[in-house]
Symmetry: C2
Subunit: 107 residues, 2 copies
DNA sequence: GCGACGCGTTAGTGATGGCTAACGTATTGA
DNA sequence: TCAATACGTTAGCCATCACTAACGCGTCGC
């Protein structure tokens, strides 16, 4: 995977990271939350590991995956370096317009 | 493109959005910042337009592209909904560790 | 009208992605 | 020892991607 952002472009992988936000999980535990096969999840975890976003630990038959804080920090840094002040200004304009079109109690 | 985040997974497209953060640009103006062909840039712009992140306006021979505030807001919302409090906590742990390893004037 | 310009579109190609099915391996409990 | 469990790996398939080259179309200046 040529890019940290590309690693989280896949929705299932994003969901995996969110699940791992609650702590260590085994592959089977994680796979229980998806409709795709356990093999697919294992491969997604491999991608996330190669990207440095997760690490794993062996315990008996179980392979526990957890988030890698360094990798996650790097991802956050890359996202923030992308999201410049200019882009933020554009979004603020959008919320202005939204409020204009929905004057009562917008988000 | 099946996903807003996937639309910005491509580095050239991220760069396009950043360039458009400075205001409207023509295709040739944008393409001047890249090594790939103008056709490639045009296709990337097409992807961004289909994702609702940019709009375009015709003026004579020139096609001006600009950011779409609504789409950019949607992208921001999706990124923020992904980046939960749990993930943020993990990253804070990482910065703690970083400071422990580089005690003097870390980022 | 005519050539130069700005741009979109298309065809084609090589690479990559996501998935399933099947197999292999280590571990556990009986 | 044997079956079940947990997991990785592989092969193979189909879809999608990023890109270039080539063409076509509208627009502008002359």
């Amino acid at each position: 995977m040529h890019d940290l952002v590309a690693a989280v472009a896949e929705p299932n992988r994003r969901r995996l990271l969110q699940l791992l936000g609650n702590g260590e999980r085994t592959v089977t535990q994680l796979a229980g939350n998806f409709t795709v096969s356990r093999s697919a999840i294992s491969q997604h975890l491999g991608v996330l590991a190669e990207a440095g976003l997760v690490t794993s630990r062996r315990e008996g038959r179980f392979q526990y995956y957890r988030l890698d804080p360094h990798g996650m920090a790097a991802l956050r840094a890359e996202l923030e370096s992308f999201w410049t002040r200019e882009l933020d200004q554009i979004v603020q304009d959008a919320s202005m317009i939204t409020r204009m079109h929905q004057p009562r109690g917008g988000p």
